[in-house]
């Protein structure tokens, strides 16, 4: 029963892939193709691009990714807790308060360290 529910999703995946690939494949067949040297140069407002694009880019973006990993995993823990909250009683509330507090302290720490300040 459970597995068969996910089969629907598998079927949807098939359909979705068709929807994703078919137009591109069709376009590949029917659309014109005129290659030229200038056409295949990277666009940058009409001038030639200067220097490499794939560089060691600013760390700031990745810091958010790190923070995200921490927070998102904790959010995932919250879901089963929330779903069965009604059955768990006061103990669950206390426990989760502690959990949330830790989470919040983490955020405040990051904040205080200036990680959240965009530079």
């Amino acid at each position: 029963m459970i597995i068969s529910n996910y089969i629907f999703i598998g079927l949807l995946l098939l359909v979705a892939m068709t929807f994703g690939l078919a137009p591109i494949a069709l376009a590949h067949v029917v659309a014109p193709r005129k290659r030229s040297r200038v056409k295949e140069v990277a666009y940058e407002c009409g001038v030639l691009t200067h220097g490499e694009t794939w560089v060691r880019f600013r760390i700031q973006y990745y810091i958010y990714a790190l923070l995200f990993v921490v927070f998102d995993i904790e959010v995932v823990f919250l879901f089963p807790w929330a779903a069965s909250y009604a059955d768990l009683g006061i103990f669950a509330l206390v426990e989760m308060t502690i959990f949330l507090a830790i989470l919040l302290v983490g955020l405040i720490y990051a904040w205080a360290k200036g990680v959240l300040r965009w530079v």
């Binding site: 990277a42 958010y64 879901f79």
Partner: protein, 347 residues
């Protein structure tokens, strides 16, 4: 045998979704026009006697299909080609667990692609996050500086807003005690109370995060035409560019549907109309519920469009500040407050 029936259903739903997307683009252009005191597309189709430019999406589609797909020489080809496909797949998969009508063993049919998946919400978020791959892969593989910045912006933005988005709905999960979207609708229907009234803060956080998740103004930084020309899709042309467009609008539909399900009562209408009780079965009830749901989703989408044609855009650091310094603490507060209140109410 059943699988074929399901396949047909999926196919129909996907097609309707695509059609809806095509016409959403038309609606968006019309709304933009009315917001700006203009008329908007009204020529395409008039050759065939069809008014209001209703064939505009077809013309755009035909044009894109027959447009050369430039494959720049310096891109990372496999990733460049796969990115738009991922965009569409992720958007469609997210819709799998969205109940757009009544679902249940007694109903005429299940108005949901994958019914009885009891972790509905989690699925939406899990798959919704896949969309970030489309954007960042497109941005990185294009080997274009504007695309690259757009891709990076997008990935940081999408993941940042995922957290408040997840936290904001936990309030509703607490109240209804289920992760199943059908159960959430049913709870609202039983009590004739919509989520927006029991969890207003959650609703606001959800709505703001939803705007950010779908890259709509005032959060459309990955594209931000005025800064990055086209952002992550700067180097895409023809059908591949069209796929991003379609994916974005499917995402808008999914998010709007979720908004309605979680906070708008699904197809509930406070018992004002008959046939809108979760106990009602039969075709009339199904169609009534489907219609009410569609109208509500349309209203949310129109709201999103209205905002788009009204507001200016945030700057990147302001956007991140909003997520981390306002929305996440607020969402945590909301969660805590909901839990406490529930504990008090239930004794």
């Amino acid at each position: 045998m059943a699988a074929i029936g399901i396949l047909i259903k999926i196919f129909i739903v996907a097609n309707v979704l695509m059609g809806a997307v095509a016409y959403l683009i038309w609606v968006e252009r019309k709304i933009a026009a009315y917001a700006q005191d203009r008329i908007g597309p009204n020529r395409a189709g008039s050759e065939f006697g069809i008014p209001f430019g209703l064939l505009q999406p077809l013309a755009d589609g035909a044009k894109m299909l027959l447009k050369e797909g430039v494959l720049p020489a310096y891109v990372n080809k496999p990733l460049y080609l796969i990115a738009p496909v991922i965009a569409i797949i992720a958007a469609l998969l997210g819709f799998a667990v969205v109940p757009f009508g009544p679902v249940g063993p007694n109903q005429v049919m299940d108005f949901q692609i994958a019914p009885y998946v009891d972790i509905g919400i989690l699925w939406v978020f899990a798959v919704g996050s896949l969309a970030v791959y489309a954007v960042i892969l497109a941005g990185w593989s294009s080997n274009n500086k504007y695309s690259f910045i757009g891709g990076l912006r997008s990935s940081a933005q999408l993941i940042s807003y995922e957290i408040p988005l997840g936290l904001s709905i936990l309030g509703m999960v607490l109240i209804t005690g289920s992760l199943d979207l059908n159960a959430i609708i049913r709870w609202q229907n039983e009590h004739h109370v919509w989520g927006v009234f029991v969890s207003p803060l959650g609703f606001i956080i959800f709505l703001v995060s939803a705007f950010a998740e779908t890259n709509r103004l005032p959060f459309d930084l990955p594209e931000s035409e005025q800064e990055l020309v086209g952002g992550f899709h700067t180097e895409y042309s023809g059908m591949k560019f069209g796929m991003f467009f379609l994916g974005e609008y499917v995402h808008v539909i999914t998010v709007s549907a979720l908004t309605v399900i979680l906070f708008g009562g699904g197809w509930d209408l406070w018992g004002l109309l008959p046939y809108l009780n979760y106990k009602d079965v039969g075709w009339i009830a199904a169609i009534a519920k489907l219609s009410v749901f569609s109208v509500k989703v349309a209203a949310v989408i129109l709201f999103m469009m209205w905002i788009r044609w009204t507001l200016p855009r945030f700057r990147y650091d302001q956007l991140m500040d909003l997520a981390w310094k306002s929305l996440i603490p607020l969402a945590l507060l909301n969660l805590f407050a909901t839990a406490v209140v529930l504990q008090i109410v239930r004794g």
